[in-house]
């Protein structure tokens, strides 16, 4: 029996702030890491979802006979035989569930690709064939999928923030302005497309429901499944060890609910994996936006008027707002300051959070408009932004916890070589390429949410930390190992962090750039208390010494302030005047995003966000066919995401910016990287060509149609 203690261990140099390769890295490069669809189960059956082929209507009949007669087919679930679920609840994040996950509850079809049945068979090939055999008759109704600024049914909608804010007389301030920008910007429907399709396996294990899933919060999914199926949460366990990307899409979705229904009906394990095509209608997406921005400024660039209005889409079954107009509420003040988020309900799937919801499309419009204002005022775009730094929250009036945008711009401009830039557009030509550079500001809220963690001192001198965190590629598992090591004052190799299991207790999800910060807080609290306990000198019994933490009170006690991460984005582009192709040549982002726990993985996450910005600026666009109400090209050939050849040298760095009110100083870095990135590229395209591009993506046909304002060589 070991009686090791940590008393004799000298405090090592801190691990937080040092580069460490991923704890699970070896498993990921050897293929040993098992994702949700890869955990073996004996007697596993395979489910295949059947989606509607009409965009609006009613199911008249589902003829399962032919499907059930096929070899290996076990059952067909649909609204006529599925168990009832309850959607009348508010979940962990304070929202009601999207009824899309309430499978097979009625005969209504509210959008193309609505799940109407699940076929379960011994093998996935058998399930797929039977699913394609299933005959579903519909009563089709006229659908409305046409999204436009002129849609008559738009209404203001509160989401995570009030729909409308306003102060001052816009028209008067516009009239008094020396320079005015009044422009409309649009962004298209965009899809998360994590590389790992959503997958879940459900089984009953001695009266307890176990779901092996790919999600952004095991406890989140556990809680929602328990409520949907009206079970005690302790009777549901959700595990999610490795997650192949999420970006906002991996909460409770049709696949887990379908797997649970089938596992219950068959009393054997059932796996449901979404196809890439199904992901376009079943996992949420980023709404298209139409945004009107009006800016008015004095001759010195000071904003007198700021108006940002955004319209996005939601479904007929659920309300979700993409709050693109919210970004101005933190970034810029003006004597007259008005923002509004509105939605229109169409016969489409419900959109959801997608990396930097609100800020990503909102910053494209607002930061493009700022660039247009800089041009109009004849002021350098960096200087214009620095002249308009607010000293308090423009809408809230609250003080900033920290505000380091200026440092980002100064460091970024120095490294990018901004001072040598000739602001005039359309002047630089290299063969058939026109060259330009652009910049934009970025911000994203820095929040924390209550979490619990468990820290155990093991008899062998090691430590185990358990928390229902999710590592969706962020590096959270490694970061938490470093945080725990520092709090315990031991080297990281003595700490084992276990995540992705709802049995570890309530915790924040990987979302809102709040995951690692919220978990690190709970891990720090548990580990520090454990260290204090051990300092008393007690021997460690066989079962170890365990301390639990709950940060609810500490997080709840945070003073109300404007809390944000900031960034400055810089891009250089080349525009082919003969084909209209835009290529990004280099990108630099400098961020003030709290204390950086692991520079190696943090750099990956920030550049990953910036690469999302390249993809958003130039490639991503989901096209909806008005005739069928469905997507055109709902796959990775039809929906372009940036690949290797699209991505040049992209660099991210940061300035010292520890959060003053966080135990570790963390702010969160999951989303700030994409914010402003598309605007910086669009502004660079203007600088190259002399023509503004206000509609994303900046496709070759748009560039050719717009022409160039450049003088002919």
């Amino acid at each position: 029996m070991s009686t090791a203690t940590t008393r004799a261990t000298p405090a090592p140099a801190g691990s937080v702030g040092t580069a460490r390769t991923r704890v699970e890295g070896r498993d990921k490069v050897t293929g040993a890491a098992r994702y949700a669809g890869e955990v073996p189960f004996a007697d596993l059956a395979h489910g295949w979802l059947v989606l509607s082929t009409v965009a609006r209507g009613r199911i008249l009949s589902i003829d399962s006979g032919a499907a059930l007669a096929l070899p290996g087919v076990l059952t067909v679930l649909h609204h006529g035989n599925a168990p009832r679920v309850d959607v009348d609840f508010v979940g962990l994040l304070g929202t009601r569930p999207d009824p899309t996950c309430a499978l097979f509850q009625h005969d209504r079809v509210p959008h193309m690709g609505w799940p109407v049945a699940l076929v379960v068979a011994e093998t996935s090939e058998q399930a797929r064939e039977a699913a394609e055999t299933l005959v579903v008759q519909y009563e089709k109704e006229d659908h409305d999928v046409a999204f436009s600024a002129a849609h008559p049914d738009a209404y203001a909608m509160d989401g995570v923030m009030p729909a409308v804010t306003g102060k001052g007389d816009l028209d008067a301030e516009i009239a008094a302005s020396a320079t005015v920008v009044d422009a409309e910007y649009t962004t298209p429907e965009e899809h998360h497309n994590p590389m790992e399709p959503h997958a879940a396996t459900a089984r009953w294990d001695d009266g307890r429901l176990e779901v092996v899933d790919s999600n952004q919060g095991a406890g989140w999914v556990q809680g929602e499944l328990a409520k949907l199926f009206q079970m005690d949460p302790s009777a549901v366990r959700v595990r999610s060890e490795h997650v192949g990307g999420g970006f906002g899409s991996k909460g409770v979705r049709a696949h887990q609910v379908a797997a649970v229904m089938a596992a219950t009906a068959l009393q054997r394990p059932v796996r449901v994996v979404l196809t890439r095509r199904q992901m376009f209608t079943l996992i949420g997406y980023r709404s298209p936006t139409v945004q009107q921005v009006r800016l008015g400024a004095d001759a010195d660039g000071r904003l007198r008027a700021l108006e940002h209005r955004s319209l996005s889409v939601t479904s007929t079954v659920h309300e979700f707002v993409e709050p693109a107009a919210g970004v101005a509420r933190a970034m810029y003040d003006a004597d007259a300051h008005h923002t509004a988020n509105r939605v229109v309900r169409l016969d489409v799937p419900t959109p959801t959070w997608m990396r930097a919801p609100g800020e990503a499309p909102g910053s494209f419009a607002l930061e493009s408009a700022l660039d247009e204002l800089a041009e109009g005022c004849g002021i350098d775009p960096v200087e214009l932004r620095l002249r308009n730094e607010p000293d308090r929250g423009p809408v809230s009036g609250l003080p900033f916890a920290s505000h380091n945008l200026r440092a980002c711009f100064q460091e970024g401009a120095r490294r990018f070589g901004w001072a040598e830039r000739d602001p005039r557009p359309g002047l630089r030509r290299e063969g058939r390429w026109l060259l330009g550079t652009g910049t934009a500001a970025a911000s994203f809220p820095a929040g924390a949410a209550p979490s619990t963690a468990v820290a155990t001192a093991e008899p062998d001198g090691s430590f185990t930390v358990r928390i229902a965190a999710a590592d969706i590629g962020t590096g959270a598992r490694t970061a938490l190992t470093q945080v725990a090591a520092d709090a315990l004052a031991v080297p990281p190799d003595r700490v084992r962090v276990r995540i992705g299991d709802s049995d570890f207790g309530p915790a924040m999800i990987a979302g809102g750039s709040m995951g690692t910060r919220s978990w690190a807080w709970a891990v720090t609290a548990a580990a520090e208390e454990l260290r204090e306990r051990l300092a008393l000198g007690s021997d460690i019994p066989a079962e170890g010494i365990t301390v639990r933490s709950d940060t609810s009170a500490a997080v709840g006690a945070l003073a109300r302030k404007e809390r944000h991460a900031y960034g400055a984005q810089f891009a250089e582009v080349a525009v082919d005047v003969t084909t209209g192709e835009v290529r990004v040549r280099r990108m630099l982002g400098v961020f003030a995003a709290g204390r950086i726990v692991n520079p190696l993985t943090a750099r990956s996450q920030l550049t990953g966000g910036m690469i999302w910005g390249i993809s958003m600026a130039l490639h991503e666009e989901s096209v909806r066919d008005p005739a069928t109400g469905g997507h055109v090209g709902a796959d990775l050939a039809g929906y372009h995401v940036a690949t290797h050849a699209d991505v040049p040298l992209v660099e991210a760095d940061w300035v010292d910016d520890p959060d003053p009110d966080d135990p570790v100083g963390i702010k969160g870095i999951g989303e700030i990287g994409i914010v402003g990135a598309a605007a910086a590229i669009a502004n660079a395209v203007w600088h190259a060509t002399g023509v503004r591009h206000r509609h994303l993506p900046i496709r070759p046909d748009r560039v050719l149609a717009a022409g160039t304002g450049a003088p002919r060589a």
């Binding site: 991923r22 699970e24 090939e125 590389m195 990307g245 994996v273 190696l600 990953g608 040298l649």
Partner: protein, 193 residues
């Protein structure tokens, strides 16, 4: 008698023989993942569009979702599980690990398999769309960052780990040869950053 819809085949994977009976519709990818518990090969799109399922077939990269398992009989298949030499990681794997050439890790096996074959394709003198001089006598082009980007573009990474992946491939391409000589190509090293 109804026509048979399955066949008994033997797949040669990572130097081992795997006899199995497969549904004729079963792809090589599904045979690996669902039948042989070789789940390192990933299914990202099942349509040949993302590269996550890349394996080596007779030494060349191939998307295993577009091959039927029955058609893979008689081929030498290498999956991510067969890339390392026992406990010793392949230089490409080691470089991905050291340089953080991934985030969520789901595209990673495909990226690594693709990179292993790509380095050999380059060493064998294959040109790419990024190659300036494609005359055979010009020899292998310098393996610049742009060459790597072009040659790796069949492998999507939604996390956007491209910058680190390109660095990792460049580092691995300049690494000493494995004992079996499968990498370690002569080329002009260029820094990416």
């Amino acid at each position: 008698m109804a026509p048979s819809t399955s066949s008994a085949i033997t797949l040669n994977i990572n130097g081992e023989k795997y006899p199995l009976s497969v549904d004729h519709r079963t792809t090589l990818l599904d045979a690996l993942r669902e039948r042989l518990d070789l789940t390192g090969t990933k299914k990202g799109c099942d349509q040949g569009q993302c590269g996550a399922c890349t394996v080596l077939v007779d030494g060349r990269r191939a998307v295993s979702c577009l091959q039927l398992a029955v058609a893979a009989e008689g081929r030498e298949i290498t999956t991510i599980e067969g890339v390392a030499e026992g406990e010793r990681l392949h230089p490409v794997q080691q470089a991905f690990l050291d340089l953080d050439g991934y985030q969520c890790g789901y595209c990673t096996p495909g990226q690594i398999c693709s990179a292993v074959a790509m380095i050999e394709e380059h060493a064998a003198g294959w040109p790419s769309a990024a190659t300036d001089d494609v005359r055979p006598e010009a020899g292998p082009p310098s393996l610049t960052a742009d060459e790597i980007r072009e040659r790796m573009s069949g492998n999507l990474c939604r996390c956007g780990a491209y910058a680190s992946i390109v660095q990792a491939v460049a580092r691995a391409a300049s690494a000493p040869a494995r004992s079996d000589g499968r990498t370690g190509v002569a080329h002009t090293e260029e820094t990416v950053a």
